[in-house]
Symmetry: C2
Subunit: 440 residues, 2 copies
């Protein structure tokens, strides 16, 4: 978001776990702060950006695949491997990575794990807490913890690796990752539906799960304003204007399965069922070829880029009940109207909502002509309190980082935060590991 | 296994989280040891059995479902709910529990989480580290940690709940569980194959994954000796003797899918493919009706009961590479032969192997006429060292408990164990929580 600029002058690029360990020992003895850096693609500026004069430890030179087992699908790789490079490595064996992100061309697997990245495949393959089999981590004092297991099941003692997943580099430096990769689907399809009202999203989601069951791989939502931004900035091919008419909400459904014929039959039957009910759907488009499949995805995947082109964005990545997605966006817009900041000179241009229905994860984006203290004051803590009122999460998939460390209490109780601080102290009593991030 | 007898006289049955908190506060102040107890069905006598004179805290009276969301499938329940009761609660809404165990009629969901139970559905739905959405836990000092979230995604701070999953009640008492339940499959089928050799297991597993892909829900292995025990004790209907001939290995394949017609077509095609290769398979039986489905499952599920009827069992629940399943059993048998303890008076009757191929989890059972120090000395640390030589886990799904606390180091490094002890100390510096379990 360009809100944080790092100040460090020293960037180290170790080539091995041993080198990482030596650097950490050195810094531990001298109480020098260290910031681990992956692909530096994060949203909350958690892992990769120094606050003061910490040493930056960039893992980009640790980029080798250590092993891949084509029977079990267990992949072991250096933390600095780029996600897309790993996908390419395992594709010839018939496997895919269990996560997929917009930043796949530059983000590192170690950074994905450190931030517990979510993304488009979470609905199907679950979170990294389930797919990561093991980690190799260097602790702040230089100790190497080797839990780089390729076992799918291991109940021996506390599952320490889980603490590092989503800790955003505040407990140690992930140097190696073992992850279970799923078999590549033989057939992938998608469709986009323009709905008569937001209230239809949930009934359609239920029908989708019933009809498409185990082949459902994504169920994405975007509102009309998000759609219009993508079309305005020519980042996606618009649907037929007369057919979508005044549809206020859209969903994209993706299937991935093992048998093309069966998958298409299921999808066709599903589409006929929802289209037959005119109160549900205005129109539906089923991709007929690879090119159209990409075009439909572009309508959803280009939203972040369209938002950036439209102006300066305040981005909230929240978990709230799916039934409240529309009202959370509407209430945020009303708040800005009340403050005289909506569609006024120097103010907010638009408020858009999109996200993963299957995961209850809403991306709330407020696009302004420019960043201003007034807009920020109108939005925070307003948005956090709104999320708290729904018992939601103020950070569904992008973490806490530096930006939201002050707001952690909206999603976690004081007892939980006290425990987190004790855990942090076990690993890093000198406070050198990614200082200022996650916990204040 | 009947090896451990509890000595405690005081059993408390709290009715609420508040009561659990009050009991813990009382015990914390007086440094009284506490053992949480669920359905008491564990194998390693971890959670449920006191070592000295600890108070037993039985959660059986906390057995209410707190909420169920039929759109997302998020279930929130008291820790003392019986697994099967929960299954029955959500079945009318079209959902199933993501775990299934032989002990489902008496085990508690809280105990399942505390022991990170695996079971028959892990291949399909993943481990509890992925499906548990939140926990309510009472810490040793009585503090209540409420992380009973129903959010599928929440990246706010360290994921503390993960530490309690598999901690076997040594860090706190789980009083409530929020868990994501998957939609109920519309169609379930199975088949059993008798193989020409153990070496065929892996090629067949690969074919199974390719052909059955997303509908594959179990791939179980059992060796000839395990099969013979089930038949001998009349716990399963034998397959046609002339057809299986001298087959040394069996696999059971189960599918669960959303479309009966599609699923049966996939299964039929798969069966024709493997049966057409005589070097792979001696015979295959595809269940034609519900009754036969149960009969085929009985051949695999009755093995533990058959083992118990045959004699006194030494049970090892290990993770090792699938390719070594047969050799691990064979080497254990050879070891007992060398020591003059195999099929001799008072000695071992049989060594059998069975387990979950999809998870790399082998159940190695040594059945003896009676327990003896000689047999134990022949088996331990022999089996643990064998597992260690394959970088395996000495406890894949049944935990460490009291029985294996001395053997933890075969699967975890001294650095990892040191960290576990520090974590234990954060939660329980007075050492009152399930003393003697997991960590020595």
């Amino acid at each position: 978001m360009g809100k944080y600029k790092g100040q460090s002058r020293l960037v180290l690029k170790p080539k091995s776990t041993q080198e990482v360990s030596q650097i950490m020992k050195h810094c531990w003895e001298r109480r020098i702060g260290v910031v681990p850096q992956g692909g530096n693609t994060g949203l909350v500026e958690g892992g990769g950006v120094p606050v003061k004069d910490e040493v930056v430890l960039n893992l980009g030179s640790m980029n080798k695949v250590r092993s891949f087992d084509p029977v079990s699908g267990a992949l072991v790789a250096d933390a600095g491997c780029v996600l897309e490079v790993l996908s390419q490595h395992i594709a010839p064996h018939g496997y895919i990575m269990p996560i997929d992100l917009g930043a796949k061309g530059s983000c590192h697997i170690g950074g994905n794990v450190a931030t517990n990245a979510g993304g488009l495949r979470l609905l199907r393959y679950g979170s990294l807490h389930g797919t990561v089999l093991g980690l190799e981590v260097v602790l702040p004092d230089g100790t190497i913890i080797d839990q780089l297991s390729t076992l799918r099941k291991d109940n021996t003692g506390y599952d320490l690796k889980q603490l590092f997943i989503g800790a955003e580099g505040t407990l140690g430096i992930i140097t190696g990752v073992s992850i279970l990769t799923p078999p590549m689907p033989q057939s992938t399809n998608n469709l986009v539906l323009a709905l008569n009202s937001f209230e239809n999203v949930l009934p359609i989601f239920k029908k989708t799960r019933a009809r498409l069951s185990e082949i459902l791989s994504a169920f994405e939502y975007f509102d009309r304003n998000a759609y219009e931004l993508v079309v305005k900035h020519k980042l996606g091919k618009p649907l037929a204007e007369d057919e979508i008419a005044d549809a206020p909400a859209f969903v994209l459904v993706e299937t991935s399965g093992g048998n093309k014929e069966h998958d298409e039959a299921k999808l066709q039957e599903f589409l006929e069922e929802v289209m037959s009910d005119e109160s549900l759907v205005k129109t539906g488009v089923l991709a007929q070829a690879t090119e159209q499949f990409q075009q439909l995805w572009a309508l959803r995947e280009s939203i972040p880029e369209a938002v950036s082109k439209e102006g300066k964005a305040y981005k909230y990545d929240i978990s709230v009940p799916v039934s409240t997605f529309e009202s959370v966006v509407a209430k945020t817009r009303e708040r800005l109207q009340e403050k005289g900041l909506y569609q006024t000179p120097g103010g907010v241009r638009e408020v858009v909502g999109y996200g993963h229905i299957g995961d209850g994860n809403l991306h709330l984006n407020v696009v302004a002509e420019k960043y201003s203290d007034e807009i920020e004051a109108a939005l925070e803590p307003f948005v956090y309190e709104l999320v708290e009122s729904h018992r939601g999460s103020i950070s569904a998939e992008h973490g806490i980082g530096l930006m939201k460390a002050h707001a952690l209490h909206y999603s976690k109780s004081k007892e939980s935060i006290a425990l987190m601080k004790k855990i942090k102290n076990v690993f890093d009593e000198r406070g050198i590991m990614n200082p200022g991030k996650v916990l204040e």
